[in-house]
Amino acid sequence: MANLNVKFGNIDFKNPLVMASGTFGFGKEYNEIYDIQKLGGVSSKGLTLNARPGNNGMRVCETPSGMMNSVGLENPGVQGFIENELQFFKDLDLVRIANVGGGTLDDYIQGVKLLNNQPIDMIELNISCPNVKAGGMAFGIKNEVAREVVREVRAVTDLPLVIKLSPNAEDIIGMAQVCEEEGADGVSLVNTFKAMAIDINKRKPVFENVYAGLSGPAIKPIALRMVHEVCKNVNIPVMGMGGITTANDAIEFIMAGSTCIQVGTANFINPKIGLEIIDGIEAFMIREGIKSLDEIRGIL
Protein backbone atom coordinates (compact mmCIF):
# COMPACT_ATOMS: atom_id res chain seq x y z
CA MET A 1 0.00 0.00 0.00
CA ALA A 2 1.27 3.39 -0.96
CA ASN A 3 1.29 6.08 1.65
CA LEU A 4 -0.29 9.26 0.37
CA ASN A 5 0.40 11.26 3.51
CA VAL A 6 2.07 14.60 3.06
CA LYS A 7 3.30 17.17 5.50
CA PHE A 8 2.76 20.77 4.50
CA GLY A 9 4.90 22.64 6.97
CA ASN A 10 3.60 21.33 10.28
CA ILE A 11 0.24 20.26 8.96
CA ASP A 12 -0.47 16.65 8.12
CA PHE A 13 -2.63 15.90 5.11
CA LYS A 14 -3.88 12.36 4.69
CA ASN A 15 -3.32 12.85 1.00
CA PRO A 16 -2.20 15.80 -1.11
CA LEU A 17 -5.59 16.54 -2.64
CA VAL A 18 -7.22 19.78 -1.55
CA MET A 19 -10.39 21.15 -3.07
CA ALA A 20 -9.83 24.63 -4.46
CA SER A 21 -11.57 27.66 -3.08
CA GLY A 22 -14.78 28.73 -4.73
CA THR A 23 -15.40 25.45 -6.48
CA PHE A 24 -16.41 23.35 -3.50
CA GLY A 25 -18.49 25.71 -1.36
CA PHE A 26 -17.91 24.77 2.24
CA GLY A 27 -17.98 21.10 1.39
CA LYS A 28 -21.57 20.44 2.37
CA GLU A 29 -22.97 19.92 -1.11
CA TYR A 30 -20.31 17.49 -2.25
CA ASN A 31 -20.58 15.64 1.02
CA GLU A 32 -24.05 14.64 -0.09
CA ILE A 33 -22.43 12.93 -3.06
CA TYR A 34 -19.50 11.22 -1.32
CA ASP A 35 -17.67 11.23 1.97
CA ILE A 36 -15.43 14.24 1.50
CA GLN A 37 -13.34 13.21 4.47
CA LYS A 38 -11.45 11.05 2.01
CA LEU A 39 -9.89 14.27 0.77
CA GLY A 40 -6.71 15.78 2.11
CA GLY A 41 -8.30 19.16 2.63
CA VAL A 42 -10.89 21.66 1.54
CA SER A 43 -10.32 25.35 0.95
CA SER A 44 -13.51 27.23 1.67
CA LYS A 45 -15.31 29.58 -0.65
CA GLY A 46 -13.42 32.90 -0.48
CA LEU A 47 -14.50 34.86 2.58
CA THR A 48 -14.47 38.61 2.90
CA LEU A 49 -14.91 40.58 6.06
CA ASN A 50 -18.42 41.58 5.08
CA ALA A 51 -20.92 39.49 3.16
CA ARG A 52 -20.93 40.16 -0.57
CA PRO A 53 -23.71 39.56 -3.09
CA GLY A 54 -21.26 38.94 -5.93
CA ASN A 55 -21.42 40.24 -9.47
CA ASN A 56 -24.42 40.92 -11.62
CA GLY A 57 -25.02 39.49 -15.05
CA MET A 58 -23.54 36.36 -16.53
CA ARG A 59 -21.19 34.59 -14.16
CA VAL A 60 -19.90 31.70 -16.20
CA CYS A 61 -18.89 31.06 -19.77
CA GLU A 62 -17.38 27.98 -21.28
CA THR A 63 -14.17 28.23 -23.31
CA PRO A 64 -12.19 25.56 -25.13
CA SER A 65 -11.17 23.18 -22.31
CA GLY A 66 -11.77 25.90 -19.78
CA MET A 67 -14.30 28.18 -18.22
CA MET A 68 -14.44 31.77 -17.12
CA ASN A 69 -16.15 32.85 -13.95
CA SER A 70 -17.19 36.16 -12.60
CA VAL A 71 -18.75 35.18 -9.30
CA GLY A 72 -17.29 38.26 -7.68
CA LEU A 73 -16.67 36.65 -4.33
CA GLU A 74 -20.28 36.16 -3.35
CA ASN A 75 -19.97 34.94 0.23
CA PRO A 76 -21.63 35.24 3.63
CA GLY A 77 -18.75 37.21 5.18
CA VAL A 78 -16.42 35.86 7.83
CA GLN A 79 -19.01 36.29 10.55
CA GLY A 80 -21.65 34.58 8.49
CA PHE A 81 -19.25 31.75 7.84
CA ILE A 82 -18.54 31.35 11.53
CA GLU A 83 -22.20 31.40 12.41
CA ASN A 84 -23.67 29.26 9.66
CA GLU A 85 -21.05 27.22 7.91
CA LEU A 86 -18.40 26.45 10.47
CA GLN A 87 -20.74 24.15 12.33
CA PHE A 88 -20.45 21.66 9.50
CA PHE A 89 -16.93 22.56 8.42
CA LYS A 90 -15.29 22.27 11.81
CA ASP A 91 -16.18 18.60 12.32
CA LEU A 92 -14.60 17.41 9.10
CA ASP A 93 -11.67 15.06 9.45
CA LEU A 94 -9.51 16.76 6.85
CA VAL A 95 -7.43 19.92 6.70
CA ARG A 96 -9.89 22.78 6.97
CA ILE A 97 -8.69 25.84 5.13
CA ALA A 98 -10.41 29.18 5.31
CA ASN A 99 -9.80 31.15 2.13
CA VAL A 100 -9.83 34.87 2.83
CA GLY A 101 -10.14 37.70 0.34
CA GLY A 102 -10.35 41.42 0.81
CA GLY A 103 -11.04 44.76 -0.71
CA THR A 104 -8.80 46.85 1.48
CA LEU A 105 -5.82 45.94 3.59
CA ASP A 106 -7.95 46.43 6.64
CA ASP A 107 -10.57 43.98 5.38
CA TYR A 108 -7.90 41.30 5.22
CA ILE A 109 -6.64 42.06 8.68
CA GLN A 110 -10.05 42.16 10.30
CA GLY A 111 -11.21 39.08 8.45
CA VAL A 112 -8.22 37.04 9.53
CA LYS A 113 -8.47 38.26 13.11
CA LEU A 114 -12.03 37.01 13.32
CA LEU A 115 -10.84 33.59 12.25
CA ASN A 116 -8.00 33.41 14.73
CA ASN A 117 -9.77 31.45 17.40
CA GLN A 118 -11.95 29.37 15.18
CA PRO A 119 -11.57 25.65 14.58
CA ILE A 120 -9.82 25.86 11.24
CA ASP A 121 -6.40 24.54 10.36
CA MET A 122 -5.05 27.03 7.90
CA ILE A 123 -5.67 30.32 6.23
CA GLU A 124 -5.29 30.71 2.49
CA LEU A 125 -4.97 34.37 1.68
CA ASN A 126 -6.31 35.22 -1.75
CA ILE A 127 -4.38 38.27 -2.91
CA SER A 128 -5.95 38.30 -6.37
CA CYS A 129 -8.67 40.58 -5.06
CA PRO A 130 -8.99 44.09 -6.44
CA ASN A 131 -7.28 46.60 -4.24
CA VAL A 132 -9.93 49.24 -3.72
CA LYS A 133 -7.41 51.91 -2.76
CA ALA A 134 -5.22 51.27 -5.78
CA GLY A 135 -7.94 51.78 -8.36
CA GLY A 136 -8.87 48.13 -8.52
CA MET A 137 -5.57 46.58 -9.50
CA ALA A 138 -5.30 43.35 -7.57
CA PHE A 139 -3.02 43.13 -4.54
CA GLY A 140 -1.28 40.20 -6.13
CA ILE A 141 0.15 41.97 -9.17
CA LYS A 142 3.04 43.98 -7.76
CA ASN A 143 5.45 42.45 -5.28
CA GLU A 144 5.62 45.39 -2.94
CA VAL A 145 1.86 45.71 -2.67
CA ALA A 146 1.63 42.03 -1.86
CA ARG A 147 4.44 42.34 0.66
CA GLU A 148 2.42 44.76 2.71
CA VAL A 149 -0.64 42.52 2.87
CA VAL A 150 1.36 39.45 3.78
CA ARG A 151 3.31 41.29 6.44
CA GLU A 152 0.26 42.81 8.05
CA VAL A 153 -1.73 39.59 8.00
CA ARG A 154 1.21 37.58 9.28
CA ALA A 155 1.41 39.97 12.20
CA VAL A 156 -2.12 39.24 13.33
CA THR A 157 -2.35 35.47 13.09
CA ASP A 158 -0.53 32.39 14.30
CA LEU A 159 -2.58 30.12 12.09
CA PRO A 160 -0.62 28.49 9.29
CA LEU A 161 -0.75 31.06 6.50
CA VAL A 162 -0.65 30.17 2.84
CA ILE A 163 -0.65 32.95 0.29
CA LYS A 164 -2.57 32.26 -2.89
CA LEU A 165 -0.78 33.79 -5.85
CA SER A 166 -2.27 35.23 -8.98
CA PRO A 167 -0.93 34.11 -12.36
CA ASN A 168 -1.43 37.70 -13.41
CA ALA A 169 1.41 38.74 -11.11
CA GLU A 170 4.13 40.69 -12.87
CA ASP A 171 6.78 38.41 -11.43
CA ILE A 172 5.43 35.28 -9.86
CA ILE A 173 8.80 34.02 -8.63
CA GLY A 174 9.54 37.29 -6.91
CA MET A 175 6.04 37.32 -5.49
CA ALA A 176 6.52 33.89 -3.91
CA GLN A 177 9.86 35.02 -2.50
CA VAL A 178 8.21 38.04 -0.96
CA CYS A 179 5.72 35.73 0.74
CA GLU A 180 8.52 33.59 2.08
CA GLU A 181 10.42 36.64 3.32
CA GLU A 182 7.35 37.90 5.12
CA GLY A 183 6.89 34.68 7.00
CA ALA A 184 4.19 32.88 5.04
CA ASP A 185 4.07 29.16 5.77
CA GLY A 186 3.50 28.34 2.13
CA VAL A 187 2.12 29.57 -1.15
CA SER A 188 -0.62 28.20 -3.36
CA LEU A 189 -0.91 28.91 -7.07
CA VAL A 190 -2.42 29.60 -9.48
CA ASN A 191 -5.61 31.54 -9.12
CA THR A 192 -7.56 32.21 -12.31
CA PHE A 193 -6.11 34.03 -15.32
CA LYS A 194 -7.57 37.37 -16.25
CA ALA A 195 -9.42 36.74 -19.47
CA MET A 196 -12.18 38.04 -21.70
CA ALA A 197 -15.05 36.87 -23.85
CA ILE A 198 -17.17 38.91 -26.23
CA ASP A 199 -20.69 38.26 -27.40
CA ILE A 200 -20.29 39.37 -31.00
CA ASN A 201 -24.02 39.42 -31.66
CA LYS A 202 -24.75 41.69 -28.74
CA ARG A 203 -21.46 43.54 -29.38
CA LYS A 204 -20.81 43.45 -25.66
CA PRO A 205 -18.45 41.70 -23.29
CA VAL A 206 -20.05 38.53 -21.95
CA PHE A 207 -19.33 39.68 -18.41
CA GLU A 208 -20.48 42.92 -16.82
CA ASN A 209 -17.02 43.36 -15.34
CA VAL A 210 -15.57 42.92 -18.84
CA TYR A 211 -12.81 40.61 -17.61
CA ALA A 212 -13.27 37.34 -15.74
CA GLY A 213 -11.14 34.50 -14.44
CA LEU A 214 -10.11 31.57 -16.63
CA SER A 215 -9.65 28.13 -15.09
CA GLY A 216 -9.66 24.49 -16.14
CA PRO A 217 -7.55 22.15 -18.26
CA ALA A 218 -6.76 24.91 -20.77
CA ILE A 219 -4.48 26.69 -18.29
CA LYS A 220 -2.71 23.62 -16.93
CA PRO A 221 0.50 23.93 -18.98
CA ILE A 222 1.02 27.53 -17.89
CA ALA A 223 0.09 26.84 -14.28
CA LEU A 224 2.49 23.90 -14.15
CA ARG A 225 5.30 26.07 -15.44
CA MET A 226 4.60 28.71 -12.80
CA VAL A 227 4.46 26.12 -10.05
CA HIS A 228 7.76 24.67 -11.22
CA GLU A 229 9.38 28.11 -11.30
CA VAL A 230 8.12 28.94 -7.83
CA CYS A 231 9.10 25.60 -6.32
CA LYS A 232 12.64 26.06 -7.62
CA ASN A 233 12.91 29.43 -5.97
CA VAL A 234 11.38 29.21 -2.52
CA ASN A 235 11.91 26.95 0.47
CA ILE A 236 8.38 27.02 1.80
CA PRO A 237 5.93 24.34 0.65
CA VAL A 238 3.69 24.90 -2.33
CA MET A 239 0.14 23.89 -3.22
CA GLY A 240 0.01 23.69 -7.00
CA MET A 241 -3.15 23.99 -9.02
CA GLY A 242 -4.60 25.09 -12.31
CA GLY A 243 -6.51 22.70 -14.51
CA ILE A 244 -5.71 19.52 -12.66
CA THR A 245 -8.21 16.97 -13.95
CA THR A 246 -6.46 13.61 -13.84
CA ALA A 247 -4.08 11.77 -11.56
CA ASN A 248 -1.49 12.26 -14.27
CA ASP A 249 -1.92 16.03 -13.99
CA ALA A 250 -1.64 15.86 -10.22
CA ILE A 251 1.56 13.85 -10.41
CA GLU A 252 3.02 16.37 -12.84
CA PHE A 253 2.42 19.11 -10.28
CA ILE A 254 3.99 17.00 -7.54
CA MET A 255 7.04 16.26 -9.68
CA ALA A 256 7.24 19.99 -10.34
CA GLY A 257 7.55 20.44 -6.60
CA SER A 258 4.06 20.78 -5.14
CA THR A 259 3.43 19.35 -1.70
CA CYS A 260 -0.33 19.53 -2.01
CA ILE A 261 -2.34 19.91 -5.17
CA GLN A 262 -5.66 21.63 -5.49
CA VAL A 263 -8.51 20.69 -7.76
CA GLY A 264 -11.14 23.21 -8.76
CA THR A 265 -12.89 23.27 -12.10
CA ALA A 266 -12.51 19.52 -12.60
CA ASN A 267 -15.21 19.02 -9.96
CA PHE A 268 -17.64 20.35 -12.54
CA ILE A 269 -16.65 17.68 -15.04
CA ASN A 270 -17.29 14.92 -12.56
CA PRO A 271 -18.36 15.56 -8.97
CA LYS A 272 -16.38 12.57 -7.73
CA ILE A 273 -13.20 13.49 -9.54
CA GLY A 274 -11.34 14.07 -6.29
CA LEU A 275 -11.64 10.42 -5.35
CA GLU A 276 -10.59 9.33 -8.81
CA ILE A 277 -7.49 11.49 -8.67
CA ILE A 278 -6.53 10.16 -5.25
CA ASP A 279 -7.02 6.58 -6.43
CA GLY A 280 -5.03 7.31 -9.57
CA ILE A 281 -2.11 8.75 -7.62
CA GLU A 282 -2.11 5.68 -5.43
CA ALA A 283 -2.22 3.36 -8.42
CA PHE A 284 0.74 5.17 -9.96
CA MET A 285 2.71 4.89 -6.73
CA ILE A 286 2.03 1.19 -6.48
CA ARG A 287 2.90 0.56 -10.11
CA GLU A 288 6.11 2.54 -9.82
CA GLY A 289 7.05 1.23 -6.39
CA ILE A 290 6.88 4.66 -4.81
CA LYS A 291 6.44 4.48 -1.02
CA SER A 292 6.06 8.16 -0.31
CA LEU A 293 5.42 11.18 -2.46
CA ASP A 294 8.65 12.62 -1.07
CA GLU A 295 10.43 10.35 -3.55
CA ILE A 296 9.06 12.15 -6.57
CA ARG A 297 8.35 15.64 -5.30
CA GLY A 298 10.37 18.28 -7.08
CA ILE A 299 12.57 15.81 -8.91
CA LEU A 300 12.91 18.07 -11.93
Binding site: E29, V60, P64, M67, N69, V71, E74, F268, I269, N270
Partner: protein
Amino acid sequence: MYKVLENRYVGEDMYLMKVEGKFEGEMGQFYMLRAWDMFPLLSRPISIHDIDENSITFLYKVFGEGTQILSRVKENETIKLEGPYGNGYEKVEGKVALVGGGIGVAPLYLVAKNIENCDAYLGFRNEAILEDEYKALCNEVHIATGNTFVTDILDVEKYDYILTCGPTPMMEKLVKMVEGTNTKIMVSLENHMACGVGACLVCTCKTAFGNKKTCKDGPVFWGEDVIFNG
Protein backbone atom coordinates in the same frame (compact mmCIF):
# COMPACT_ATOMS: atom_id res chain seq x y z
CA MET B 1 -22.28 5.52 -17.77
CA TYR B 2 -25.84 4.63 -18.65
CA LYS B 3 -27.21 3.01 -21.74
CA VAL B 4 -29.36 5.05 -24.08
CA LEU B 5 -32.47 3.08 -25.00
CA GLU B 6 -33.88 5.57 -27.42
CA ASN B 7 -32.99 9.00 -28.76
CA ARG B 8 -35.45 10.18 -31.32
CA TYR B 9 -36.40 13.41 -33.01
CA VAL B 10 -39.86 14.63 -32.04
CA GLY B 11 -40.06 17.93 -33.96
CA GLU B 12 -39.24 21.58 -33.26
CA ASP B 13 -35.50 20.71 -32.98
CA MET B 14 -36.34 18.55 -29.99
CA TYR B 15 -35.27 15.03 -29.12
CA LEU B 16 -36.55 12.53 -26.61
CA MET B 17 -33.83 10.50 -24.93
CA LYS B 18 -34.62 7.49 -22.80
CA VAL B 19 -31.86 6.16 -20.60
CA GLU B 20 -31.79 2.80 -18.89
CA GLY B 21 -31.46 2.59 -15.13
CA LYS B 22 -33.16 3.03 -11.81
CA PHE B 23 -33.18 6.76 -11.29
CA GLU B 24 -34.58 8.97 -8.63
CA GLY B 25 -36.09 12.36 -9.16
CA GLU B 26 -39.08 14.56 -8.52
CA MET B 27 -40.97 16.77 -10.92
CA GLY B 28 -38.93 19.86 -11.81
CA GLN B 29 -35.60 18.41 -10.76
CA PHE B 30 -32.84 18.03 -13.29
CA TYR B 31 -29.78 15.98 -14.13
CA MET B 32 -26.39 17.11 -15.42
CA LEU B 33 -25.79 15.27 -18.70
CA ARG B 34 -22.70 14.65 -20.73
CA ALA B 35 -22.32 12.38 -23.72
CA TRP B 36 -18.63 13.17 -24.04
CA ASP B 37 -15.44 12.84 -22.11
CA MET B 38 -13.57 16.11 -21.57
CA PHE B 39 -14.81 18.43 -24.29
CA PRO B 40 -16.85 20.55 -23.91
CA LEU B 41 -15.90 21.12 -20.31
CA LEU B 42 -19.22 21.45 -18.57
CA SER B 43 -22.16 19.08 -18.32
CA ARG B 44 -25.59 20.28 -19.44
CA PRO B 45 -28.53 20.67 -17.06
CA ILE B 46 -31.62 18.92 -18.42
CA SER B 47 -34.92 18.50 -16.59
CA ILE B 48 -36.50 15.18 -15.91
CA HIS B 49 -39.19 14.70 -18.51
CA ASP B 50 -40.35 11.34 -17.32
CA ILE B 51 -39.18 8.62 -15.03
CA ASP B 52 -40.26 5.05 -14.40
CA GLU B 53 -38.94 1.92 -12.75
CA ASN B 54 -36.30 1.16 -15.33
CA SER B 55 -35.57 4.36 -17.14
CA ILE B 56 -35.46 8.11 -17.19
CA THR B 57 -36.45 10.28 -20.13
CA PHE B 58 -35.24 13.70 -21.16
CA LEU B 59 -36.73 16.02 -23.72
CA TYR B 60 -34.17 18.44 -25.05
CA LYS B 61 -33.82 20.97 -27.76
CA VAL B 62 -30.71 21.23 -29.89
CA PHE B 63 -29.28 24.60 -29.11
CA GLY B 64 -25.47 24.61 -29.19
CA GLU B 65 -22.59 22.21 -29.16
CA GLY B 66 -23.55 20.13 -26.14
CA THR B 67 -27.13 19.41 -27.14
CA GLN B 68 -25.92 18.72 -30.66
CA ILE B 69 -23.61 16.02 -29.35
CA LEU B 70 -26.49 14.64 -27.30
CA SER B 71 -28.62 14.44 -30.41
CA ARG B 72 -26.03 12.30 -32.16
CA VAL B 73 -25.96 9.63 -29.48
CA LYS B 74 -27.28 6.37 -30.84
CA GLU B 75 -29.28 3.64 -29.23
CA ASN B 76 -27.13 1.42 -27.00
CA GLU B 77 -24.42 4.02 -26.68
CA THR B 78 -23.80 5.43 -23.24
CA ILE B 79 -24.01 8.81 -21.57
CA LYS B 80 -23.10 10.16 -18.15
CA LEU B 81 -25.71 11.48 -15.76
CA GLU B 82 -25.41 13.10 -12.36
CA GLY B 83 -28.40 13.96 -10.26
CA PRO B 84 -31.16 14.39 -9.45
CA TYR B 85 -30.38 17.95 -8.48
CA GLY B 86 -32.42 20.92 -7.44
CA ASN B 87 -35.68 21.78 -5.93
CA GLY B 88 -38.67 20.96 -8.10
CA TYR B 89 -42.34 21.85 -8.20
CA GLU B 90 -44.35 21.45 -5.04
CA LYS B 91 -47.20 19.00 -5.17
CA VAL B 92 -50.01 21.49 -4.98
CA GLU B 93 -53.71 20.71 -4.83
CA GLY B 94 -56.59 22.54 -6.43
CA LYS B 95 -57.15 23.75 -9.96
CA VAL B 96 -53.78 23.63 -11.65
CA ALA B 97 -52.57 24.91 -15.01
CA LEU B 98 -49.28 23.75 -16.47
CA VAL B 99 -47.89 26.37 -18.81
CA GLY B 100 -44.97 25.49 -21.03
CA GLY B 101 -43.26 27.48 -23.73
CA GLY B 102 -41.02 25.73 -26.23
CA ILE B 103 -38.63 23.34 -24.59
CA GLY B 104 -40.19 24.50 -21.33
CA VAL B 105 -42.78 21.81 -21.86
CA ALA B 106 -40.10 19.25 -20.94
CA PRO B 107 -40.45 19.12 -17.15
CA LEU B 108 -44.23 19.53 -17.24
CA TYR B 109 -44.79 15.98 -18.38
CA LEU B 110 -43.64 14.55 -15.06
CA VAL B 111 -45.67 17.25 -13.36
CA ALA B 112 -48.78 16.18 -15.25
CA LYS B 113 -48.12 12.64 -14.13
CA ASN B 114 -47.98 13.73 -10.51
CA ILE B 115 -50.78 16.23 -10.32
CA GLU B 116 -54.25 15.08 -11.06
CA ASN B 117 -56.80 16.99 -13.09
CA CYS B 118 -54.53 19.67 -14.40
CA ASP B 119 -54.89 21.56 -17.64
CA ALA B 120 -51.95 22.18 -19.93
CA TYR B 121 -51.21 25.22 -22.03
CA LEU B 122 -48.36 24.54 -24.39
CA GLY B 123 -46.77 27.04 -26.73
CA PHE B 124 -44.60 26.16 -29.72
CA ARG B 125 -42.93 28.08 -32.49
CA ASN B 126 -44.47 26.07 -35.34
CA GLU B 127 -45.90 22.70 -34.54
CA ALA B 128 -47.06 21.07 -31.31
CA ILE B 129 -45.02 18.13 -30.14
CA LEU B 130 -46.05 15.28 -27.87
CA GLU B 131 -49.59 16.64 -27.83
CA ASP B 132 -51.13 13.19 -27.43
CA GLU B 133 -48.84 12.34 -24.56
CA TYR B 134 -49.91 15.41 -22.62
CA LYS B 135 -53.55 14.79 -23.54
CA ALA B 136 -53.34 11.38 -21.97
CA LEU B 137 -52.45 12.96 -18.65
CA CYS B 138 -54.26 16.30 -18.54
CA ASN B 139 -57.88 17.27 -18.53
CA GLU B 140 -57.49 19.83 -21.26
CA VAL B 141 -54.55 20.56 -23.49
CA HIS B 142 -54.45 23.96 -25.17
CA ILE B 143 -51.90 24.59 -27.85
CA ALA B 144 -50.57 27.92 -29.02
CA THR B 145 -48.34 28.15 -32.07
CA GLY B 146 -47.02 30.85 -34.34
CA ASN B 147 -48.18 34.32 -33.40
CA THR B 148 -50.46 33.16 -30.64
CA PHE B 149 -48.78 32.87 -27.28
CA VAL B 150 -49.79 30.72 -24.35
CA THR B 151 -50.26 33.85 -22.36
CA ASP B 152 -52.98 34.85 -24.83
CA ILE B 153 -55.06 31.72 -24.37
CA LEU B 154 -54.88 31.36 -20.62
CA ASP B 155 -57.23 32.85 -18.05
CA VAL B 156 -55.07 32.73 -14.95
CA GLU B 157 -57.91 33.42 -12.56
CA LYS B 158 -59.51 30.09 -13.41
CA TYR B 159 -56.72 28.37 -11.55
CA ASP B 160 -55.43 28.08 -8.02
CA TYR B 161 -51.93 27.31 -9.22
CA ILE B 162 -49.88 27.82 -12.32
CA LEU B 163 -46.79 25.72 -12.76
CA THR B 164 -44.71 27.06 -15.58
CA CYS B 165 -41.49 26.58 -17.47
CA GLY B 166 -40.37 28.41 -20.57
CA PRO B 167 -38.66 31.53 -21.85
CA THR B 168 -38.04 34.11 -19.14
CA PRO B 169 -40.26 36.80 -20.76
CA MET B 170 -43.14 34.33 -20.79
CA MET B 171 -42.70 33.42 -17.15
CA GLU B 172 -42.28 37.03 -16.19
CA LYS B 173 -45.47 37.92 -17.98
CA LEU B 174 -47.34 35.13 -16.19
CA VAL B 175 -46.08 36.35 -12.85
CA LYS B 176 -47.44 39.79 -13.72
CA MET B 177 -50.73 38.28 -14.81
CA VAL B 178 -51.35 36.61 -11.47
CA GLU B 179 -50.47 39.70 -9.50
CA GLY B 180 -53.49 40.81 -7.51
CA THR B 181 -55.33 37.54 -8.12
CA ASN B 182 -55.60 34.55 -5.82
CA THR B 183 -53.62 32.44 -8.23
CA LYS B 184 -50.15 31.32 -7.17
CA ILE B 185 -47.41 30.56 -9.64
CA MET B 186 -44.27 28.47 -9.63
CA VAL B 187 -41.60 29.20 -12.22
CA SER B 188 -38.59 27.15 -13.27
CA LEU B 189 -35.56 29.35 -13.88
CA GLU B 190 -32.79 28.71 -16.33
CA ASN B 191 -29.29 29.86 -15.64
CA HIS B 192 -25.91 28.76 -16.86
CA MET B 193 -24.44 26.27 -14.43
CA ALA B 194 -21.10 24.74 -13.59
CA CYS B 195 -21.32 22.46 -10.54
CA GLY B 196 -25.09 21.96 -10.52
CA VAL B 197 -24.99 21.17 -6.81
CA GLY B 198 -24.82 24.56 -5.15
CA ALA B 199 -21.08 24.86 -4.59
CA CYS B 200 -19.79 27.34 -7.17
CA LEU B 201 -22.30 30.21 -7.15
CA VAL B 202 -22.22 30.88 -10.87
CA CYS B 203 -25.99 30.32 -11.14
CA THR B 204 -27.14 32.80 -8.51
CA CYS B 205 -30.51 34.40 -9.06
CA LYS B 206 -32.09 37.24 -7.16
CA THR B 207 -35.14 36.73 -5.02
CA ALA B 208 -37.06 38.62 -2.39
CA PHE B 209 -35.06 36.59 0.13
CA GLY B 210 -31.70 37.56 -1.32
CA ASN B 211 -29.43 35.60 -3.61
CA LYS B 212 -30.46 32.02 -4.25
CA LYS B 213 -28.76 29.24 -6.12
CA THR B 214 -30.76 28.32 -9.19
CA CYS B 215 -29.35 24.80 -9.12
CA LYS B 216 -29.88 24.04 -5.45
CA ASP B 217 -32.60 26.33 -4.10
CA GLY B 218 -34.31 26.22 -7.51
CA PRO B 219 -34.72 25.81 -10.36
CA VAL B 220 -38.35 26.11 -9.26
CA PHE B 221 -39.32 29.14 -7.22
CA TRP B 222 -42.56 30.83 -6.27
CA GLY B 223 -43.06 33.45 -8.93
CA GLU B 224 -43.70 36.25 -6.46
CA ASP B 225 -40.26 35.71 -4.89
CA VAL B 226 -38.25 35.99 -8.08
CA ILE B 227 -36.71 39.31 -9.03
CA PHE B 228 -36.62 39.17 -12.80
CA ASN B 229 -33.97 41.33 -14.48
CA GLY B 230 -32.04 40.90 -11.25
